[in-house]
């Protein structure tokens, strides 16, 4: 498509602005994490007066960051594995079988996405407390409660996207597997799952990101032992002097795993969105 000159100027202008808008906070995070404390307590400097890695060492002792890190890893990792597994079964049912209630299921699952989190936070809090009182299964304040909460957050999108993905795999492949003696579950495991790896990976990233970044439920459903990074990082700001260089270093450290994972696997996400969701 040939384009007039104003379009190429608009492209430079708009993309230039977007680069600046995107980069400035990332730069503030990186530069401040390498500054001594005195640098972040005075006027803003673009460059550290002297480069130091101290903040990256101090973050582990100022707050129990390692504990929060482990909690976040356990909660997000388990929630991701469970969410993807459950979504694979549900998506397989939706894409390969005709059964009563299929539409009802799809609509209900998708519509849970629009509920305000605050609406089921209060009842869920009470339900968890009362299940604990009645049965002894500790859900409130435990990692288990957070895990099952988070896995349902990513479940609707995961089912929706995987169902689209599975539907794009020719049913003849399933039939061929059945001729070779596979049952429906054998066909799922031997044919459908291997052929949908990109979609499954994309869904897994999404589920992990959702759990890793959640704040509202983490702030209510955890105690000092099970606190996740999302809540733990805010302990810095309750201190009298905010050690901004450490806050930025900690933010960087907790971001690296998800950002690296996301960027490495982003083409799967884009491919998954193109194949499944945007149709």
């Amino acid at each position: 498509m040939s384009e007039p000159r104003w379009v190429s100027w608009a492209r430079r202008l708009v993309l230039g602005f977007l680069v600046l808008f995107t980069v400035l906070p990332l730069y503030a995070m990186l530069a401040s994490s390498l500054k001594p404390l005195s640098d972040v307590q005075g006027d803003w400097h673009w460059l550290p007066t002297n480069l130091t890695f101290e903040p990256f060492i101090e973050i582990w002792s100022t707050i129990p960051l390692a504990k929060y890190f482990v909690n976040s890893l356990i909660v997000s990792g388990t929630a991701t594995v469970l969410s993807v597994t459950i979504a694979i079964f549900a998506a397989y049912a939706v894409s390969r079988f005709e059964f009563r209630g299929k539409n009802l299921f799809s609509i209900t699952v998708l519509s849970t996405q629009m509920f305000p989190g605050i609406l089921f936070l209060l009842p869920l809090f009470l339900i968890f407390v009362n299940i604990g009182n009645a049965t002894g299964i500790v859900l409130y304040g435990s990692r288990l409660g957070l895990i099952i909460t988070y896995l349902t957050f990513s479940l609707p999108f995961a089912i929706w996207m995987l169902a689209g993905y599975f539907a794009s795999i020719p049913k003849e492949l399933d039939e061929a597997a059945k001729v070779d003696g596979c049952g429906p579950l054998g066909a799922l495991i031997r044919i459908v799952i291997p052929a949908s790896t990109p979609g499954i990976v994309a869904v897994a990233i999404y589920a992990f990101m959702t759990a890793w970044g959640e704040v509202l439920f983490a702030s209510v459903m955890t105690d000092s032992d099970t606190r996740t990074l999302a809540v733990g990082l805010q302990e810095y700001s309750t201190q009298v002097d905010v050690y901004w260089n450490q806050v930025m270093a900690a933010s960087l450290v907790v971001s690296v795993p998800v950002v690296a994972g996301f960027l490495l696997l982003q083409r799967y996400l884009v491919a998954g969105l193109t194949a499944g969701a945007v149709k």
Partner: protein, 326 residues
């Protein structure tokens, strides 16, 4: 209401059946077995709590009954009357935070969509560095939300932040030193909130629109070019109509996320958001957990849900009809 489904462990899929009868039974119920874990969890975490929440909104559920809520007295419509009495303090506070949320949603969704569309359309054509730029633009979306918002909170600090340094010291647009503006309290806090939210959300719009653009067949542009359509005409007559289904969903998702947004103001302002930036989720959270009056909090949540349902229904009806007409 205390009889609740226990969190059933995800049932393992049945192994290969031995007898013919088992096989027939399995063939009929297999889809339901596959769906069972998803259904149980959705019921436990979303649907049952929602119904319980609706029930709670009719109870006088104050701190005395939290541990023993089956005995909370029935309030009927009292909770609703109380929060909707716009002559009293509670009603006025709810109304004010509702309007703040409406303005926040309109500003944030419009800007995020505009930047996402501009970015995606201008990067539709191949140029050097396009892949790298796309990766860079997705970073804010990949960043854990609280890390991003904490960084913005640091940039918005009055005396030590980057924002006042750029606007005041470098560009001279605002006062410096003792005259420097505050960004996290007062009127400015609303715009701080919008900027952070747009920074977080525009890459999502960009990602979705980019995926939508890839599904537009190239022949359409070629045919339009043969008909003599220039760049703008092609954008108006090919790109825009072809993106309409994508935009229909994108707008709805952005609207729901932004209207329900709790995380951005909670991390940006801490426990007490300034009233200029007190979104409705924050308002409900604070009035529930500060006073431990869950009945009132539930009534406000139910009103919020009804509002969102109404807007969504009207939106889908209007946009779907327009789609069939055009």
């Amino acid at each position: 209401m205390t009889t609740l489904t226990k969190p059933a462990p995800a049932p393992a899929p049945p192994g290969p059946g031995k007898s013919a009868r088992a096989r027939v039974w399995r063939g009929m119920s297999l889809p339901y077995l596959l769906l069972l874990p998803a259904v149980v969890l959705e019921l436990l975490i979303h649907l049952v709590p929602m119904l319980v929440g609706i029930g709670m909104s009719f109870l006088k559920l104050t701190q005395f009954y939290i541990r023993n809520w089956a005995e909370a007295p029935v309030a009927g419509l009292d909770n609703y009357r109380f929060v909707l009495d716009f002559n009293a303090a509670a009603g006025r506070a709810l109304m004010s935070s509702f309007w703040v949320t409406v303005q926040y949603t309109v500003a944030s969704v419009a800007l995020a969509w505009l930047l996402g569309t501009a970015g995606a359309v201008l990067m539709q054509r191949e140029f050097r560095g396009r892949g790298g730029l796309r990766t860079l633009f997705l970073v804010p979306y990949a960043l854990p939300m609280y890390a991003a918002v904490i960084t913005w909170a640091f940039m918005f600090q009055r005396d030590t932040g980057m924002v006042n340094s750029i606007l005041g010291d470098t560009l001279g647009l605002v006062g410096t030193g003792g005259d420097a503006p505050f960004w996290l309290i007062g009127d400015n806090s609303f715009w701080s909130l919008v900027i952070v939210s747009v920074w977080r959300n525009w890459p999502f719009a960009f990602l979705i629109i980019m995926a939508g653009l890839q599904n537009i067949p190239r022949d359409l542009y070629e045919a339009a070019a043969i008909d003599g359509a220039g760049w703008w005409r092609q954008f108006r007559s090919v790109t825009q109509p072809m993106l309409r289904p994508v935009n229909q969903v994108l707008f709805l998702v952005l609207f729901l996320w932004t209207f329900n947004d709790f995380n951005t103001p909670y991390v940006l302002f801490g426990e007490s958001a300034p009233k200029e930036a007190s979104l409705i989720s924050i308002h409900i959270y604070q009035s529930s957990f500060k006073t431990w009056n869950f009945g009132l909090g539930s009534a406000m949540s139910v009103l919020l849900l009804l509002f969102l349902l109404l807007v969504t229904a009207v939106y889908l009806a209007v946009t779907s009809r327009r789609r069939t007409v055009v």
